[in-house]
């Protein structure tokens, strides 16, 4: 995995223009991809016990040849996408945010999709055989639906 491959993947899968990632740096390590700014990489960090840098952008498996963007990454970059986007109605939105898979025919290709409600990017989904497998991290799911 490397920077060029990630950017190419985002472009091929979602139609996100590669120029969008210009000011960003990727840190690729142990199956994880972190996103930060180039500025951060230029700082003096000697002596600091670093746990993580920037935002968890995605995960990959070199062996299986797959890359998967995180919901948090898509919430930032999903707005630049032009394909493989699935739009939900209000009921589907609530189901999805609560953690359910959705049965839904859509014109996306099989694989990772961007889940949207109106103009808001909710996050990542995995589309296969008419089912969107829920990819919202457990800690981020809602267990009840808004009251107002």
């Amino acid at each position: 995995m490397n920077r060029a491959k990630i950017i190419k993947w985002m472009e091929q899968r979602f139609g996100i223009n590669r120029g969008i990632f210009k000011g960003y740096a990727f840190i690729i390590k142990n199956g994880k991809v972190w996103l930060t700014s180039r500025e951060v990489m230029n700082r003096e960090l000697r002596g600091i016990k670093i746990e993580s840098v920037g935002l968890l952008f995605g995960r990959y498996s070199e062996r299986k040849g797959i890359f998967k963007p995180t919901t948090n990454a898509l919430q930032i970059f999903g707005k630049y996408a032009s394909r493989n986007i699935v739009e939900l109605n209000e009921r589907e939105r609530d189901d999805y945010l609560t953690g359910y898979d959705l049965e839904k025919q859509c014109d996306a290709g099989e694989g990772y999709v961007i889940i949207k409600y109106k103009h808001h990017v909710l996050g990542c989904g995995l589309y296969r055989n008419g089912i969107i497998k829920n990819q919202i991290p457990k800690a981020r799911r809602r267990y009840s639906v808004e009251e107002v």
């Binding site: 960003y24 996103l35 930060t36 700014s37 500025e39 951060v40 700082r43 003096e44 960090l45 000697r46 002596g47 600091i48 016990k49 670093i50 746990e51 993580s52 840098v53 920037g54 935002l55 968890l56 995180t70 948090n72 919430q75 930032i76 939105r93 945010l97 409600y117 808001h120 990017v121 909710l122 800690a139 981020r140 809602r142 267990y143 009840s144 639906v145 808004e146 009251e147 107002v148």
Partner: protein
């Protein structure tokens, strides 16, 4: 409604400072805290979010001292943590007084900032937003499980300019003159958050206050060492205990001859000056320039804030 029972020692503690007003102070200590949110402009268009929330029936009132802070007046009805806006990282629940230390630190886009005791990241995410996700923040904490919450909040808020580190803050003393700005939102006895969590009272004791003061003195020393000349340190706590506040600043002024306390002012906020004397001990009169925020002054949690410049 259930009310906390305040320990007798606590009830008497600030009577010498407040006089008659002590009753009002204690009354506020027993009142639940008003809920507030910060609009996260890293991900959200503030105007749009405010109007969407209002359309859904949220009663919002602007926090006078932060452009993106709002009290949610009907928070009991709207379930902030379950809202779509929270899920999307457009809003972040944060107590109104807790928005003050970053405002006083006032970071610029190009700054290299240390948030020495950062978890769970309310102030880190606010700093990142104020810096427009530029520059660089080192968000440090020593507690592994709290760091998890910090990382979670940074990711939800879309923060990319931040490095998370896990160290005892004391070790920053070895990294001399590294940062432009340092926020030390110190571990403290938490008297100021009684209104949020009455559990605080079960741990409260004068002994604990004195132990914490020792820790805070170590941390403030490290914060000053790691600051560049000309740089600013904001020291804050959510407690009223002078030992953890003016006492710590007094200690720093004795130990370092290259720092000065700067006067601060925040529009729309009511505060009082730091006190010069406590239980027979007098402090360097510079501590008068610090900020003491009592719960009854703005109907918020209590806070203490000092702005220190390294010469």
């Amino acid at each position: 409604m259930k009310q906390p029972i305040l320990p007798g020692k606590f009830k008497a503690r600030y009577a010498s400072l407040l006089g008659e007003e002590n009753k009002i102070f204690l009354k506020y200590c027993k009142m639940p805290l008003r809920k507030s949110i910060r609009i996260n402009t890293i991900k959200a268009n503030a105007k749009e979010v405010v109007s969407a929330l209002k359309d859904k029936g949220w009663e919002l009132e602007r926090v006078p001292w932060f452009k993106y802070g709002y009290w949610v007046k009907n928070a009991d009805k709207v379930a902030i943590g379950n809202s779509l806006e929270y899920f999307l990282g457009y809003i972040y629940p944060q107590e109104a007084a807790s928005m003050l230390p970053p405002i006083i630190l006032n970071p610029k886009q190009e700054d290299f900032v240390l948030d020495m005791a950062a978890a769970p990241g309310s102030k880190t995410t606010q700093l990142a937003q104020m810096m427009d996700n530029k520059g660089c923040i080192v968000a440090n904490d020593k507690d592994t499980s709290r760091i998890k919450a910090l990382r979670f909040n940074l990711d939800v808020c879309g923060v990319v300019n931040t490095i998370v580190s896990r160290m005892d803050g004391i070790w920053f003393k070895e990294l001399k003159e590294r940062f432009d700005l340092v926020l030390l939102d110190a571990p403290c006895s938490g008297e100021g958050v009684i209104r949020k969590s009455w559990n605080v009272l079960s741990r409260w004791s004068v002994n604990m206050i004195n132990n914490l003061a020792g820790l805070q003195k170590g941390l403030i020393g490290a914060a000053i060492e790691t600051l560049k000349p000309g740089g600013v340190l904001v020291y804050s706590t959510c407690t009223l205990a002078p030992e953890e506040n003016e006492g710590v600043i007094d200690f720093a002024l004795k130990k370092f001859d290259n720092i000065k306390v700067e006067k601060v002012s925040v529009e729309g906020l009511k505060w009082r000056n730091g006190i010069e004397e406590w239980e027979g001990k007098s402090f360097n009169s510079e501590v008068k320039k610090t900020m003491r925020i009592w719960p009854q002054d703005n109907d918020t949690q209590a806070f203490f804030i000092a702005k220190v410049r390294k010469l």
